[in-house]
């Protein structure tokens, strides 16, 4: 499928995982892709992989902490490719030193909370703010935010991360309401446990546990998320806006006791 021909996409957080898979996918469907990341060397490695398969792209530095960096990245992308049709807000601060301190509320350091919200929520908001004039002028655009299953159900760890993603969910609905009539759609994808280098580092010891609670036979792959992103980015998604779309192996679609009682289903077989 070549649903992205003539379209330009900017992707934040593209040095690996979902962002890199989405870059490969959107470029593979004919789009021009701007790979933004605070780790510009990592983004450049993704860019080389995309070019190796015939895709058109370039990497640039983006620091979501700084509005000037955000403005510069978007202006630069628009100058190079002449337009911006798709914004994938996929970057989040997932560094181990932050995630490991985002735990029990009674010990929450306000600086950790602030830094998580500064990157994940404020950074995403500013990306949207600065891309909107381009999309409104074009009368068309698709904004896709990477959310998380953690924003839909409670967990024991990472409350700041989850709350910042919940902020992104609501922001998604507001942007859809405010700019839908101008031709701008805004949706979020909410991944389940997607196996990447980052999740291996942060969750590696728990993989079997998580798999038991997914309804599918396997955990997620970055390509699963990229496929939904490609639909939303393209005209195939033109009637979809304001949605938080779980691509999560159904982890949020059942009661928590299901894995404990799965054998029980056999008792009903006749």
């Amino acid at each position: 499928m070549k649903r992205m021909e003539g379209k330009v996409a900017i992707i934040s957080g593209s040095n690996g995982g979902i962002g890199a898979a989405a870059a490969q996918r959107l470029a593979g469907e004919g789009g021009k892709v701007v790979l933004a990341d605070i780790d510009v060397d990592g983004a450049e490695r993704t860019a080389e992989q995309v070019r190796a398969t015939g895709g058109i792209c370039f990497a640039l530095h983006l620091d979501l902490n700084e509005e000037s960096s955000i403005e510069h990245a978007i202006e630069h992308a628009a100058n190079v490719y002449g337009r911006i049709d798709v914004l994938l807000n996929n970057a989040a601060d997932t560094r181990g030193e932050i995630m490991s301190q985002d735990a029990a509320m009674e010990f929450m350091d306000a600086n950790i909370w602030d830094s998580v919200f500064r990157v994940n929520a404020r950074g995403t908001m500013l990306m949207i703010k600065h891309v909107l004039p381009h999309m409104v002028k074009q009368g068309a655009g698709s904004i896709i935010n990477t959310s998380s299953g953690a924003s839909l159900r409670a967990d024991l760890f990472r409350p700041a991360y989850a709350a910042s993603k919940a902020a992104i969910n609501m922001l998604t609905e507001y942007v859809a309401a405010q700019y839908g009539k101008k031709g701008v759609r805004c949706n979020a994808v909410s991944p389940g446990l997607v196996v990447t280098e980052t999740t291996r580092q942060n969750q590696g010891h728990n993989m079997d546990l998580y798999l038991a609670h997914h309804l599918t036979e396997r955990l997620g792959d970055p390509d699963d998320i990229a496929a939904m992103i490609a639909l939303l980015a393209s005209d195939d998604g033109r009637f979809i806006t304001g949605q938080i779309i779980p691509v999560d192996g159904g982890i949020s679609a059942h009661f928590p006791h299901v894995a404990d009682t799965r054998g029980g289903i056999d008792a009903y077989k006749n």
Binding site: F239, G250, A253
Partner: protein, 276 residues
């Protein structure tokens, strides 16, 4: 190679609208499509069209109100194609004689409620029940059910239709939970207003009244729903299950007063554009 090459898909209610558009889309991505409809002539016409464009499709008669007919649809599909990987439960009893009498609760004849649940909820359940063995055997079965935004928010009429669709939504969660580990995904597509060609052309006032509450500039087309069904039916949807995917122009996502306040919002934007 399409995403659905070598897959067999059953599409119920395939004679018109979303069912017909989806049958065309699945076939265009390589699927062998069984078009099931109570209106066999309608399904036949779409199937012939698909074949003319190089696709592989047959039409089969099917009555959602009749358990034997539903079982026969699955059996005939297996007899013809030998397997089935995709079941798109899209049929519903939407005849004007039913919908026009599906009013507010106090004025809703029980015959309308029963008929609606017989077709839309019971029929959908039975199609899933009889298709599941073959879907499980395929190792990559995908069930997609057409629901409606009416199942998510209240409205002044179509009480039975909406309640039956809510039953389909919950059935979806249960099937996803019960058979996921056997390779089954089960999801719902929940369309917003997708007007027929006829009402698009002849009821501009109705369209205008409805579109203002959608967040998109336009109402939906059957092809918009078909695009998501194609993803869910293919390997690209293998990690999506138990979901209600709203392809509805955001009509169920913003507060009801948004359309009334839009002018005020636009004025605020204009004023600020002047000052910034």
């Amino acid at each position: 190679m399409g995403r659905l090459t070598d897959r067999t898909a059953i599409v119920t209610g395939a004679g018109v609208g979303i069912g017909a558009a989806t049958a065309r889309r699945l076939a265009s991505e390589g699927a062998q499509v069984v078009l099931a409809d109570i209106d066999l002539a309608g399904a036949d016409k779409v199937a012939a069209d698909i074949r003319e464009q190089g696709g592989d499709a047959i039409a089969l008669p099917f009555d959602l109100a009749d358990e034997a007919s539903i079982k026969k649809l699955i059996d005939d599909t297996l007899a013809h194609y030998g397997k089935v990987e995709v079941l798109f439960n899209n049929a519903a009893d939407t005849r004007p004689a039913v919908l026009e009498n599906d009013g507010p609760a106090m004025d809703l004849p029980i015959e309308i409620w029963d008929r609606t649940f017989l077709c839309n909820a019971r029929g959908t359940f039975l199609a899933i029940k009889y298709a599941l063995p073959a879907l499980i055997a395929s190792g990559r079965g995908a069930i997609i059910n057409t629901s409606s935004g009416a199942a998510l928010l209240g409205d002044v009429a179509r009480t039975a239709y909406a309640s039956a669709k809510a039953a389909v939504n919950t059935l979806t969660l249960y099937v996803a939970t019960q058979y996921g580990k056997q390779g089954i995904t089960c999801n719902v597509v929940s369309p917003g207003m997708v007007p027929t060609e006829n009402s698009r052309a002849n009821q501009p006032e109705m369209i205008k009244a409805v579109v203002r509450h959608h967040l998109t500039p336009e109402l939906g087309y059957s092809e918009d729903i078909a695009a998501m069904v194609a993803l869910l039916a293919s390997d690209e949807g293998r990690f999506v299950t138990g979901q209600i995917l709203r392809i509805d122009g955001g009509v169920t996502k913003a507060f009801a007063h948004v359309a009334d306040n839009r002018e005020q919002f636009e004025a605020h934007c204009s004023a600020n554009r002047g000052t910034i």
